[in-house]
């Protein structure tokens, strides 16, 4: 009998029951600290930059684009994912601590866009669980701000963050 394994599992169970009353708090806290990692693979990156610029200032919603993957909890896939880049995307996603969320930005990240019949693209929805899609080619900066708002609303209503934090 594996004593260490049983002990670990029981400790996790106790922690889960202890943390359950705080789950609305986890959701509320994560909602206002969505830090997306820079993952610019094509032209959508310009619109992403504009949405965090002075005019729209998505940072006021508590969302801050960040450079260190291990300190982030969201990833906005800005554009085409090639077969080579898909491997890097997977590595980046696995490095992020839970709870983590994926947003697919632009036509390329949704269904391939203008490269839909290329030999070298991967649809991000085939390799990662995507929470929010932003349609457009490229989307307007307002759409990125709206996607952050949508993600926040989904976190609040569907309890996404606490689910991942307690069960994942």
């Amino acid at each position: 009998m594996d004593i260490a394994g049983v002990a670990e599992r029981s400790i996790k169970k106790i922690l889960k029951t202890l943390m359950k009353p705080f789950s609305p708090m986890i959701d509320w806290a994560t909602k206002y600290s969505i830090w997306p990692v820079h993952f610019t693979t094509s032209c959508c990156g310009c619109e992403f930059a504009a949405s965090y610029g002075p005019r729209l200032d998505t940072e006021r919603l508590g969302s801050l684009p960040f450079t260190h993957v291990r300190n982030t909890n969201a990833i906005i896939i800005e554009g085409t994912i090639t077969k080579k880049m898909a491997k890097a995307l997977k590595v980046v996603y696995e490095q992020m601590p839970a709870p983590k969320f994926v947003v697919a930005m632009g036509a390329c990240a949704i269904d391939g866009g203008i490269f839909h019949n290329s030999y070298n693209i991967v649809k991000p929805r085939d390799i990662l669980p995507i929470e929010v899609y932003i349609p457009g080619c490229p989307p307007r900066p307002e759409a990125v701000t709206n996607a952050v708002r949508t993600l926040q609303k989904r976190m609040q209503t569907l309890r996404l963050a606490s689910k991942q934090a307690l069960e994942g």
């Binding site: 077969k83 080579k84 491997k87 839909h116 019949n117 030999y119 070298n120």
Partner: protein, 152 residues
């Protein structure tokens, strides 16, 4: 590129073994760099044409000219001597032709994939005409359905 008086000359080589001597002669005449090195696939006649465009930076009189060399290769086993020793600017472009069309350049110093993932595309050459993308296949079937009188 000076002015719009670009004169294009063509040269067709049937035997790939003759390519280095032709390239050497051109280099001695002043054509000192490869502008582009690509290929065309002809599956019906079972051949691949290697297309090389060369021009000059150093000689003013042939600077506006672009010289095109076409080499006929066997599609089943396309092999051609490498031009890296004569024109170093051909190195990366030869690697691209190698991964996209499967043309093997003999005596190339570093012949491996340059753009494509070597694990995903080992033995597969996406720019050959017989390579079918899955999504494209669906589109072709739809087109055929429309031709045959729509959805039955």
């Amino acid at each position: 590129m000076s002015g719009d008086s670009q004169v294009k000359a063509e040269f067709f080589i049937e035997n790939p073994a003759e390519l280095p001597s032709v390239a050497q002669t051109l280099k001695e005449k002043g054509y000192d760099h490869v502008i582009s090195l690509s290929a065309v696939d002809y599956p019906k006649s079972n051949e691949i044409h290697l297309v090389i465009h060369v021009s000059s930076y150093t000689k003013k009189d042939i600077e506006p000219k672009i010289f095109e060399i076409r080499v006929k290769l066997n599609r089943d086993n396309p092999r051609v001597p490498s031009l890296v020793k004569i024109w170093p600017s051909a190195e990366f472009q030869e690697r691209e032709a190698y991964e996209m069309f499967g043309i093997v350049f003999e005596n190339h110093p570093d012949l491996r994939n340059i753009l494509l993932d070597p694990e995903e595309f080992s033995g597969v050459h996406p720019l050959r005409k017989d390579y079918i993308v899955q999504v494209e296949d669906i589109m072709l079937k739809l087109k055929e359905e429309v031709k045959n009188g729509g959805n039955k």
